[in-house]
């Protein structure tokens, strides 16, 4: 017989693993596009998380008009088209001003998109609901009902992941992308259609981020600060994985997804482990550190991981490139 306590621990582990993998897969949906864009165009798209946010808000608006399922397809297409336009009419122009200007262009874009979203949808969260057809518990582990919508999210991200793998391995564009990942300097020699490939890659990359936005919107909070909250974590993922490494981004996405989810579910603190501090220290900064729970530290875990990786593996987990 398993005792009651073990049941609780087991339940926590199973649920956190599921949630962690789910969060990781969502991160990878975005990190994969970001990595491919970086490898081919040489620019880290600072506004990538903004397209994730646009996906969520487009999804919200369109699902109000025509329902969730059409929105799931239309919103990413719209965001992707917007992304392609940004590449064609913005980035391509800025390219001649150098990489710093390109990165700053996307930085300014992220800033402007947040403002525009605030103007249109306001600063408070919008009411983006889980579609009724998926609003039921999928299964029950011990005492927790696991929502069907989360399983749906997981399935969608895994389906896209598999789809991406197939495209990368089998299609002509996929081969070009693969070549760009391993030999970034050769991208310039692709021929006269290089501009169209760049536009396509940027469009698809931002559309993937938007897919993540549409499916995450109802489960998380759809709000104008969601890009600013997620963006830095996304960049941690690509640096920890190794800039320009797709397998690295995958490993780092799952790692950060799991680390953060597990940390959130834990309530331990130094005070809990070693007992409260003496009254002499009750009002000092030491008591802050002593009393803080693992769950409260969860938001900084990705950044702690980043610093550790930088100390021990400056190139990232699977990275090989200098810049």
């Amino acid at each position: 017989m398993i005792s009651e306590g073990w049941c609780v621990v087991l339940e926590l582990i199973v649920i956190s693993t599921l949630n962690g993998v789910l969060f990781g897969m969502l991160l990878f949906l975005m990190a994969s596009g970001l990595t491919v864009i970086f490898s081919m165009l040489g620019v880290l798209n600072f506004a990538h998380a903004s397209f994730y946010m646009l996906g969520a808000f487009f999804g919200f608006q369109i699902s109000r008009w025509v329902g969730f399922w059409p929105a799931l397809f239309i919103a990413p297409l719209l965001a992707g088209a917007l992304g392609a336009a940004v590449e064609r009419f913005g980035l391509r122009r800025v390219h001649r001003n150098g990489h710093v200007a390109e990165l700053l262009f996307t930085f300014g874009l992220a800033f402007a998109i947040e403002e525009i979203v605030q103007i249109i949808w306001g600063k408070s969260p919008v009411d983006f609901r889980i579609p009724a057809s998926l609003d039921f518990p999928a299964f029950r582990i011990f005492s927790t009902n696991y929502p069907a919508y989360k399983m749906f999210m997981l399935l969608v991200s895994i389906a896209i992941f598999v789809g991406l793998l197939v495209v990368l391995k089998k299609s002509r564009v996929g081969l070009i992308v693969q070549a760009a990942l391993t030999h970034p300097h050769m991208v310039g020699h692709l021929g006269h259609n290089v501009g169209r490939i760049f536009m396509l890659v940027f469009g698809v990359g931002t559309a993937l981020a938007a897919v993540a936005g549409v499916i995450a919107g109802p489960a998380l909070v759809t709000q104008s600060n969601m890009a600013a909250l997620l963006g830095p974590i996304l960049f941690v993922v690509v640096v920890v994985g190794g800039l320009g490494s797709l397998p690295g981004a995958f490993v780092a996405s799952l790692l950060i997804g799991l680390v953060q989810t597990f940390a959130v579910s834990m309530n331990g603190s130094l005070a809990g482990a070693f007992g409260p501090l003496g009254p002499d220290y009750a009002q000092t900064w030491l008591s802050d550190i002593w009393g803080v729970t693992v769950a409260q530290v969860a938001p900084i875990m990705p950044y702690v991981l980043l610093v550790l990786i930088l100390i021990f593996r400056p190139m990232g987990l699977l990275g090989t490139r200098e810049t």
Binding site: F38, V43, L44, G90, R93, V94, N97, G98, H99, V100, A101, L103, L104, F105, F107, G108, L109, F111, A112, E115, I116, I119, I120, W121, G122, A228, P232, F235, V236, V238, V239, L243, Q283, T284, W285, S287, D288, I289, V292, Q296, V297, P299, I300, P302, Y303, V304, L306, V307, L310, I311, P314, E322, T323
Partner: protein, 433 residues
């Protein structure tokens, strides 16, 4: 050898040049001294103080971006920590009645910035380029989030405050009135500008430029680019700390916004808009952006959007910033061909202004319908009055945008041609810069 140097090396500046050089500094000092006599209102003094702080902060940022080629998204960390430590320092000094006057307290902020830059800089500057940019962002998030956890030290959302007037007094200055704070900020600003300018004239300063241009080659003339980046990072941290300290003294409070992404973004905007290619660029940018953000917020409720769009326009069309744009005209001015392009400028200005007006009209109308749909549709923005619901407004906006864009594109092409001609003539006359 020395004879060779005197004939081959750049000549030492003539006495008149040197007098001019020192004259500029003295003129700046005098200007700072008499400025409050001309604009004496409390609002003006506050604005000047904010500009001074922003100048130090932006110049410190340009040690990274313009001098060393390091794009940081987290420079506010050193500004903010400097500010927090100074508030604590003021409280400690005040409580223990230590004989330390307020004017030297910004040094605490500088040393704090230096300390944390020295601590966090070594891992951050291992890489340059995009990786450095992302690392600076991650480190900034780490510090900003930690600040919210360590509530006793950072005071949580509300922040911590201090009373700057309770310190040891020199010459009976209490530093209560804004005018005294203005002079404090002005003195530190002048000192910081001189120090940062001097830094660019040292072997380290020159090697920073070399690392910016070509970190690979630097290794083959005996230098470790990582060490150069690290030292530049430490200097930038020090001066950012001084700026943060002055901000904390000015507001008598430090809160989590000091450390945050918005503050880091603002210094990046100021520096880049001013121009990273010249020493004076960030000074111009700090003045311009501070003044712009203060005045734009009076004109429209969505000034941050305009600000973002303006920044995108600078990155796209004028990567040298305001200073770069002005300096482009130097050869034309000296070659006497500036007059040839002025008419083209004036012609291009009209459709460009029409395009901008159309955009403003459209943005303000949309804002009216999304942000306050119930209000009176007759609104006013940038001094223009119009009815946001009227189809006429929409038609005019559309016409201005489309028409302005088409015509502006043509006039800018003409301007570019006129410009090339004028520059060629200037080059022929021997003026390259």
């Amino acid at each position: 050898m020395t004879e060779l140097a005197s004939s081959v090396a750049p000549p030492n500046p003539a006495l008149s040049e040197r007098l001019k050089f020192y004259g500029i500094w003295i003129a700046v000092a005098l200007l700072l001294l008499v400025l409050p006599k001309i604009f004496g209102s409390g609002g003006a003094l506050t604005t000047f103080s904010l500009i001074g702080i922003s100048i130090i902060f932006s110049l410190s940022y340009n040690i990274l971006l313009g001098q060393t080629g390091l794009l940081s998204f987290g420079h506010a960390v050193y500004y903010g920590l400097g500010g927090f430590l100074v508030i604590h320092a003021i409280n400690i000094i005040g409580a223990n009645k230590l004989p330390i006057p307020l004017p030297v307290v910004p040094l605490v902020g500088g040393l704090t910035g230096l300390f944390f830059a020295a601590l966090l800089g070594w891992v951050s500057t291992q890489r340059s380029g995009t990786a450095f940019a992302m690392i600076s962002l991650g480190v900034a998030e780490l510090i900003a989030s930690s600040a919210l956890i360590l509530r006793t030290f950072f005071g949580g959302e509300a922040g911590i405050s201090a009373n700057r007037t309770k310190l040891f007094r020199l010459f009976d200055w209490s530093f209560g009135p804004q005018i005294q704070i203005y002079y404090l900020v002005a003195a530190w600003t002048l000192l910081a500008i001189i120090a940062m300018y001097a830094l660019t004239r040292t072997p380290l300063g020159r090697m920073c430029n070399a690392v910016r241009d070509n970190p690979e080659r630097v290794q083959f003339v005996g230098y470790d680019p990582h060490v150069i980046r690290y030292l530049a990072f430490c200097f930038a941290g020090f001066f950012a700390g001084v700026a943060g300290a002055l901000a904390a003294i000015n507001f008598e409070i430090a809160n989590s916004a000091y450390l945050g992404a918005v503050q880091s973004g603002t210094v990046l905007f100021s520096t880049y808009i001013g121009g990273v290619g010249y020493f004076i660029g960030p000074i111009v940018g700090a003045i311009f952006v501070t003044a712009l953000s203060l005045s734009l917020s009076d004109l429209t409720s969505v000034w941050q959007l305009y600000f973002g769009l303006f920044f995108i326009a600078v990155v796209t069309f004028a990567p040298g910033g305001i200073t770069g744009l002005l300096m482009m005209h130097r050869p034309l001015l000296r070659g006497g061909t500036l007059g040839k392009v002025l008419p083209s400028y004036l012609i291009a200005l009209i459709p460009t202004l029409a395009l901008v007006a159309g955009l403003i009209l459209a943005i303000e109308s949309i804002v009216h319908h999304t942000v306050n749909p119930g209000d009176d549709p007759n609104i006013k923005a940038f001094g223009m009055s119009f009815n946001a619901s009227s189809p006429i407004t929409w038609i005019i906006a559309l016409f201005l945008i489309v028409g302005g864009f088409v015509v502006a594109r043509e006039t800018w092409r003409r301007l570019a041609r006129a410009w090339d001609d004028a520059l060629t003539v200037a080059h022929e006359r021997g003026y390259h810069a």
